[in-house]
Assembly symmetry: C2
Homo-oligomer: 409 residues x 2
């Protein structure tokens, strides 16, 4: 596939053979690059069920004989929830569960692209900084590909995600600092030692992998387009990728509109909400980030300009939800749909709940970006309690009576 | 589909309208029932990719207009691992990763059947005792189906599994005792209050759901049959179901042999190994079970007679592996294949490693029955360590030098 790179800030065009990461003129913060594909093939059938994300190979900036990670990525389930839609006043509601990816998150889509690129460029070591999911994804997919990974995480990352890293054999640097500090640190070290970067926003190909999530929705809904697409936002790359996926499908002529993209942030980490609302997309507002939704606890988002521009272009906007709302959303989503999302995954549902009154009669898809098993501690704070019993029927019946499950007995 | 029930011990045949669970003559321990389908349809194509386990609907004891849980179950990935096969001296090795099911384990196949049956019989409450996976599966799938679940687990079940239960809104009885005690307790209470039973071996339909795992392997390998099929064993129902799945495919004429089925138990919970080796399958050896592989930490297995008979019929056998071997298998499997299994899931790989010298030149499929995220504590004991660093490049470089990742810098 023929493509070039274009700076999101100044619009300068670069040859991908000459520039790997960001615009030299605008720098890494504003000058993230967009991959622009010269000509899209005209076709309308995608073998998503057999190939996962690689069904979209000729819509991706990769060679025909590209490397593919030997794990099944994408083609994650989408569920239509009629009763829940009705309850919320929507015409239709779909849940796209990306927690079903190999390492349990949306990030596997991006990591797969990074590995394809790294193989093409003969890199054997990939590094990243991550709040957890990009890291576990990189660790798992490099293991499956016989490559090495060096990973920088804030030392506060959830236990399950750190466990994944170690099990997969990654070299793990647990940084006594925030994700934002780990990010800058990793870029400095990665550059110095010449490892391939899987850092969000910096590597322009990650977004291309991520756009397959939106493309899958289009195929799975048989080219019907929801009015709204809702997803949680940390660095801003996933939300941008959702826009790009729908836009590409429109460019090819397979759909005739793009959903309004709604980005959901945690209130304690709503840097992009603030930047968006300021109207000055090129002056990112940085904050100290705090949220139970570790995957989006980002204070210095790396793809803020792109996220703001593209979300605005879609007619959408950003919204904040509290940790309390996120916690309740985890539980309600699980009980209503059987989909257990991690806090950042359920945040999209919290956003939908908050905005439902504005969405009356409209259709929406929400992206659950991570598996609930990745962060059980946060979920536990909002779930109910177990009933401790002795192995004695009398004790069990007494408890069942107390909690109102039985009357008699 | 027309079918009847047949006692595995005495061979008595029952009408499914008259008997729900076990043989009244032989009792629940020996008298577990086999579902015998009168006539299989003749066909050879299964729309596994679109339908998951329901691709096999007309090979299951359900009505044509049966209820299906609105979550995508089955069609889990199977990976061919050529390099690993060569390393172990096998002609071929496939990894079937059932950790990719909705609640992260093989048990979703069985729970789906239980719910279909419960709906047909107008039950709204289902109970089970479980070491964890059947429980989280029941909690998740009943939530998605708008039903209630009442669950008995040993209070020592891994945190992640208990979290799943509570998040999904199950009523959880954490029993101060073993799985075996929880099992007996649940049966007594469940019978008394007339809830539907999802207890392993007791409910004959669970095995029918589980057999779809083997059927999928047949379809995914394009009707090629491995020489060995290896799976971990607790109560003995999954291992029996693997045999049944292959046998059904042979009965229909789609394959001409059945793999030798190898059941792998934890050394501290090897009750079925002992019974099998005693030769007296109808005199189950009960033990005190201890293993890090909580899903198979069963001292009083409920499907021992069936498991022994059917594994023997396949030409296979049972083997024990130590907790140390299981722990190492988790790590090696993850690093070699990118598949992170829970201890019981990786136990199959530990069994393969132990037996590889006997399998030279042969082909094998291993079933990874649960997702590693379900029990991170056990994995952590065998994984490496994180490197704690300050957010300072000098500190990072010093650590990278110490652990031999870099020389210079």
């Amino acid at each position: 596939v023929n493509y070039f790179l274009k700076c999101v800030n100044c619009g300068t065009v670069y040859d991908p053979k000459e520039i790997m990461y960001t615009c030299p003129k605008c720098g890494p913060r504003l000058g993230t690059l967009e991959v622009v594909i010269n000509e899209y093939p005209k076709h309308s059938s995608f073998d998503l069920k057999s190939k996962g994300i690689w069904a979209f190979s000729d819509l991706l900036p990769i060679d025909e004989d590209h490397y593919e990670v030997p794990l099944f990525i994408g083609n994650t389930p989408i569920y239509e929830k009629k009763a829940l839609a009705k309850k919320l006043g929507l015409s239709d509601l779909w849940i796209k569960n990306d927690g079903r990816n190999p390492t349990g998150s949306y990030k596997d889509r991006a990591t797969a692209m990074a590995i394809t690129k790294a193989k093409a460029l003969n890199f054997n070591t990939i590094y990243c900084a991550s709040t957890g999911n990009a890291a576990s994804s990189l660790a798992g997919l490099t293991a499956a590909s016989g490559m090495k990974s060096i990973i920088f995480v804030p030392k506060t990352a959830p236990e399950a995600k750190i466990t994944q890293l170690l099990v997969y054999g990654a070299i793990v640097m647990a940084v006594d600092g925030t994700y934002d500090e780990a990010f800058d640190l990793s870029t400095e070290i990665g550059n110095e030692f010449g490892w391939y970067s899987r850092n969000s926003a910096i590597n322009p190909y990650l977004l291309e992998g991520k756009k397959t999530g939106a493309m899958e929705v289009v195929v799975q809904l048989d080219f019907k387009v929801p009015d709204f697409a809702i997803v949680s936002v940390g660095d801003g790359t996933v939300v941008s990728s959702i826009y790009k996926g729908f836009k590409d499908m429109k460019t090819i002529g397979l759909i005739d509109k793009i959903p309004k993209i709604i980005g959901v942030q945690a209130e304690g980490a709503n840097a992009i909400v603030r930047t968006f609302e300021s109207g000055h997309f090129d002056r990112p507002v940085d904050i100290d980030a705090h949220s139970i939704a570790d995957s989006i606890a980002v204070g210095k988002p790396r793809d803020v300009l792109k996220a703001c521009k593209w979300v605005k272009e879609s007619g959408g906007y950003f919204v904040s939800v509290t940790d309390e709302e996120i916690g309740k959303a985890i539980i309600e989503l699980a009980r209503e749909t059987g989909v257990f999302g991690e806090p950042a995954g359920a945040a999209a549902y919290a956003g939908l709940k908050k905005l439902a009154k504005d969405f009356q009669g409209k259709s929406a898809v929400i992206f659950v970006t991570g598996n609930g098993l990745k962060d059980i501690k946060s979920a536990m704070n909002f779930a109910g309690r177990v009933n401790y019993v002795k192995p004695d029927p009398k004790d069990v019946k007494s408890v069942l009576r107390q909690i109102g499950v039985i009357q008699e007995g």
